[in-house]
Amino acid sequence: MDTAAATLDADLVDHRADGRRRGGAERATVRARVLDATVRCVARWGVAKTTLDDVARQAGCSRATVYRVVPGGKAALLEAAAEAELATLLERIAEAFDRSATLEDLLAGGLSTAAEALRSHEALTYLLRHEPATVLSGVAFDALDPLLETAAGFAAPWLEVYLPPEQAAEVAEWLTRLVVLYSLDLDGSGPDLADPAEAARFVRTYVMPGLEASRSPKRTTDPTITTAPQE
C-alpha cells in the first residue's frame, strides 16, 4: 500500500510539472487524483473514519486543494468518488460489450465483468464488511431506481443492436439487478458470476429463455427481435 502511495506521489510530482504547462487540464487531473485518494482511504479506514486530511495526504495535496476541486466537504467528496467509480465500472463493462459477438455473449460478458470488478473493489469490499449500511442504503428500496435507470440508459446502444428499445431497457434493468443481487452480498451463496463460464451458464439458464418468452407471443407481428446482430 505504501509503495502504491509513493508511486502516486511521484506521479503527482510529474503531473505538477506537466500541469504548469497545460494549465486547464490540471484541475481535472487533480480532481481525479483526489477522488482516487478518497477511494484508497475508504478501502483502508472506511467512510466514518476517513477525514479530509487523510484524503489530502493520500493525494499529496493540501486540504485547500481538496476543497477547491471538490467543494462541499466529506459528503460531496464521497459522492463524487462513488460516481467516478461507477463511471470506471461502466467503462469496463462497455469494453466487455464491445468484445461480444452475440446477445448471449454481451449479457454474460457484462455480468461477469461487473461481478469481477465489484468483487475485487477494495473499498466496496471493506464497506460491505464493516459499514454495510453506507452501500446498501444506496441500492435498497427506491434508492435503486436511479441506478437502474442509469444502467438502462448506458446499456441501451449495445442491447438495441439485438432488441427493440423497450425490451432492451427491460433487459438492461434485469442485468443491473442481477449484478446488484449477486455481487453485493458476501455470504458467497449463489453462482459465482465473476467466472465467465458461470455467467454464461447463468445467462443461458435464466435470461435467454426469458427473452424467448417475451418475443413468442409477438413472433408473427414483431420480427425485429433477433438473437443475431441486425445489419
Partner: protein, 188 residues
C-alpha cells in the same frame, strides 16, 4: 403478572408509535417506556441491546406481520406463477401503502438499513423456504437446479418488491408478464 408476550407486543406497538412521531434516531427507550405506560427497566429487560435492538426488533416484528398478511393473500394460489404474481402485486401495494416505512426511507435510510438486517434475513429465509417447498412439487426445465432456482426466484422477488424500477407492479398484467418472462421462463 402480565403475560410477557403481551408486554412485548405492547412495547413493540409503542415503539412503532414513537417512530411515527420521532423517527428512528430520536426515539429513546424512555420514550417507548412512556408510550407503553411501563417502566424503563421493563423496556431494558425486553431489549437488553438498547435502542439498536429496539429498532431492529420492531422492524423484524413488522416484517413478520407483513409476511403473515402476505401468506393470507396467497391462499388459493396453487402454483408458482400464481404465488409469485399475486405476491409481487400484493406486496408492492402493501409496501407503497406503508406510510411509516416510506417516510423513514426518505428521511433516515441508513438508520433503517442498519435496523433492517435481521428482518432482511427473516424475509429471505421465509421467502426462500416457501419457494423451495413449492419447487419441490413443480416440474422444472431439465438441467435446472432446485436450490439455485429457489435462490434466484427469492432474490428476484425481493428485489422487485423493494424497487420496482420500470415495472408497474400495480398492474396485474404487467406483473404477470414480468413473472412469466424474467422469473419463470428459465425455470419452468
Amino acid at each position: 403478572m402480565a403475560d410477557p408476550a403481551d408486554t412485548r407486543t405492547r412495547l413493540l406497538t409503542a415503539a412503532l408509535h414513537c417512530f411515527e412521531v420521532e423517527g428512528l434516531r430520536a426515539t429513546s427507550l424512555e420514550d417507548v417506556a412512556r408510550a407503553a405506560g411501563m417502566s424503563r427497566a421493563t423496556v431494558y429487560r425486553h431489549f437488553p441491546g438498547g435502542r439498536e435492538q429496539l429498532v431492529a426488533d420492531t422492524i423484524t416484528w413488522e416484517v413478520g406481520r407483513f409476511l403473515a398478511r402476505l401468506g393470507h393473500a396467497l391462499v388459493g394460489e396453487r402454483d408458482l406463477f400464481g404465488q409469485l404474481s399475486v405476491g409481487l402485486w400484493w406486496g408492492h401495494q402493501a409496501i407503497g401503502e406503508h406510510r411509516l416505512l416510506q417516510r423513514i426511507l426518505a428521511t433516515e435510510p441508513e438508520e433503517f438499513i442498519v435496523g433492517f438486517a435481521d428482518a432482511d434475513a427473516l424475509l429471505q429465509g421465509e421467502v426462500h423456504g416457501h419457494l423451495r417447498a413449492l419447487l419441490e412439487t413443480t416440474e422444472l426445465r431439465s438441467g435446472v437446479d432446485r436450490d439455485e432456482a429457489a435462490d434466484y426466484l427469492t432474490r428476484m422477488f425481493l428485489s422487485h418488491l423493494a424497487s420496482h424500477g420500470r415495472w408497474d407492479l400495480s398492474d396485474r398484467a404487467e406483473v404477470e408478464r414480468l413473472v412469466r418472462t424474467q422469473f419463470l421462463a428459465g425455470v419452468l
